[in-house]
Amino acid sequence: MNERTAPAPDLLLDVRDLHTEFATSNGIVRAVDGVSWDVRAGETVALVGESGCGKSVSALSIMGLISKPAGRITGGQILFKGSDLLKRSEEEMRKIRGREIAMVFQEPMTSLNPVLTVGRQITEACEIHLGHTPEQAHARAVEVLGLVGIADAERRLKQYPHQFSGGMRQRLMIAIALSCEPALILADEPTTALDVTIQAQILDLMKDLSRRLGVATLIITHNLGVVARYADRVNVMYAGKIVERGTAREIYASPRHPYTLGLLRSVPRLDEPKRERLAPIQGQPPDLTRLPPGCSFRPRCGYAVERCAEEVPPLERVAGTQHSACWEKDKLPVRAAKPEKVPA
């Protein structure tokens, strides 16, 4: 693979041509198939797509938490602060996990250990990564609980996860992620398991913390509404590949890939006249063990032409920073919208 020159100085994470595969009984699944994207210091980037498109696997690849031996990273680079994480040993990766890159998971109900106090679960990372004494770690835990808006920290730290509601548990997960002041937080569907009202609270909290503390955030989601409000830049993934990228504003104003268009049409909106029903994307996500030749989205695409069945469209620049992987990208209907008004 071609080595590129040193990354731009403000690039915190630079994923280049990442390939992650899983060996299953049905054959090799290319969960992440040559994906490149980056995150700058302090910014919020979104990775959007349906279930099984490779979003979560991308995040786990960065953390070095792909389950072996079924899953393995077969190519590419993950440059974090300029050095390749894929070349690190397991012990070096352990020192990065939680310290430099922290992760918030989808299921707050099951992602906290039920038999350990919340305090124990927040303090352990600081004790290991920062060499905090129990007292220092405790003080830090009180501090991060304050940051995520959990009152009465001293009492709460002695409690167990089952004594917290779903939204509160996700706050705890964020508190754990923040405890060692990482440079980057990977949030894998952080609000999917929560009530709609709580979703907005959690996302506002993450956005606010990201601004105040300068932590870069990668939000993985299937909800383009989330992306509109909270992300600076967006990468849309389909079947292991990035099909469209750009700033949130660009993507909302004029999506240049039929899949993005479909995703946007399937989100209810308040700024448009009430339509009779939402327009879902037809069909199912493809079976990754036997992808069709050409563009993976073709079987579900209303704009497909003959060429789509033969050649995989490359990710090419459309305008500004917007890129799209579609042969028909210039012929798609224009869809005007202001991103700020899209509800979360």
């Binding site: 953390m63 938490l65 352990r94 020192k95 990065i96 996990r97 939680g98 310290r99 922290a102 992760m103 998971f105 299921e107 099951t110 992602s111 906290l112 250990n113 039920p114 038999v115 350990l116 124990r120 352990e124 990372a125 290991i128 990564h129 167990y160 089952h162 004594q163 997960m173 754990i176």
Partner: protein, 318 residues
């Protein structure tokens, strides 16, 4: 937590009373009684009905059942289990040494089983589907397949043939000579403990495998914790719940259920006493033994409940 413990403790009382009533009634339902067993075994003749009747009267068996129960139960409340209907000796004396012996073997076997099962189960789970895992599984299946009395016979023969040595065959209480005592009891403890570890090993392995797939283990890994810390702090405590159940129940079972293995090692434990007491229709002794073993079961259950609560706060706070 304290309230939980007290609550569970008090629940033991009605259970024990229930056991007392049932065993008392059941024994009286079985055909034959201690007097018949004593005088009519073997030849079965030569004793007149009057003699039998007089003997029944002497033992109080001519009284109405409810009265017999009341007398016996009043004694039990004062920890007086009466005298054996067969030997005439006080029951506490009959049981004392044998209980000490059986309890010691059961405890030692439990320790052996735990020391084998936990490390083996954990390592098998960590190395799932490698040769280590297969080796552990073969070892534990072999344990299940071999009865412990047979393993005991093999041990004794092995010592005799290879080392020309026999473990002591006369029981010495621990407080008299610990070394001699251990030299005798370690072998049955190993034979029984190995078999007992098989179930616990497999339980540890499957429980650990299940826990290692949990989301909170992924969270712990994402925090950058050491593997050892993840195992000890995050996985083990969660994985222990079913293992505690298996070990606890097996322990209670060992107290009274080691009849054949006790024979092999020439141990005069509760198991043999149990068989004798029942075949002789020794009502008072059987009642005392059943009550003792039931109390052990109930107490082990209580201890397990407390252990659960300690392991899992969700139980504690309910």
């Amino acid at each position: 937590m304290l309230r939980f413990v007290i609550h569970r403790f008090l629940l033991m009382i009605p259970t024990l009373v229930g056991v007392a009533v049932i065993i008392f009634l059941l024994l009286r339902v079985i055909p034959g009684d201690v007097v018949e067993a004593k005088f009519m075994s073997g030849e079965g003749s030569g004793v007149s009905a009057e003699v039998l009747q007089a003997e029944r009267a002497r033992l109080g068996l001519d009284k109405p059942v409810w009265e017999q129960f009341a007398i016996w139960f009043w004694g039990v409340l004062k920890f007086d289990f009466g005298i054996s209907m067969w030997t005439g000796g006080p029951i506490s004396e009959e049981i004392e040494l044998r209980f000490a012996l059986s309890l010691q073997v059961a405890l030692m076997a439990t320790i052996v089983a735990t020391l084998l099962a936990l490390p083996l189960g954990i390592i098998a789970a960590l190395k799932q589907d490698t040769w280590v895992d297969y080796a552990v599984r073969i070892f534990s299946i072999a344990g299940l397949a071999m009865p412990s009395f047979w393993l005991g016979i093999l041990m004794i023969l092995g010592f005799l043939i290879i080392f020309e040595w026999l473990p002591p065959m006369i029981y010495t209480p621990f407080w008299v000579d610990p070394w001699q005592n251990m030299l005798q009891l370690i072998w049955p403890a190993l034979a029984v403990g190995y078999r007992y570890s098989a179930v616990a090993t497999r339980m540890t392995r499957s429980s650990m495998l299940e826990v290692l797939r949990e989301d909170y283990i992924r969270t712990a890994r994402a925090k950058g914790l050491w593997l050892k810390l993840i195992l000890v702090r995050h996985a083990l405590k969660n994985a222990m719940l079913p293992v505690v159940t298996v070990i606890g129940l097996e322990f209670a079972f060992l107290l009274g259920g080691l009849v054949v293995t006790e024979q092999v090692f020439n141990l005069n434990g509760l198991g043999l006493l149990f068989v004798q007491a029942i075949s002789r229709r020794d009502y008072t002794l059987t009642q005392a033994l059943v009550l003792l073993v039931a109390a052990a079961f109930i107490f082990v259950n209580f201890a397990m409940d407390v252990m659960y609560a300690w392991l899992d706060p969700r139980i504690r706070y309910r």
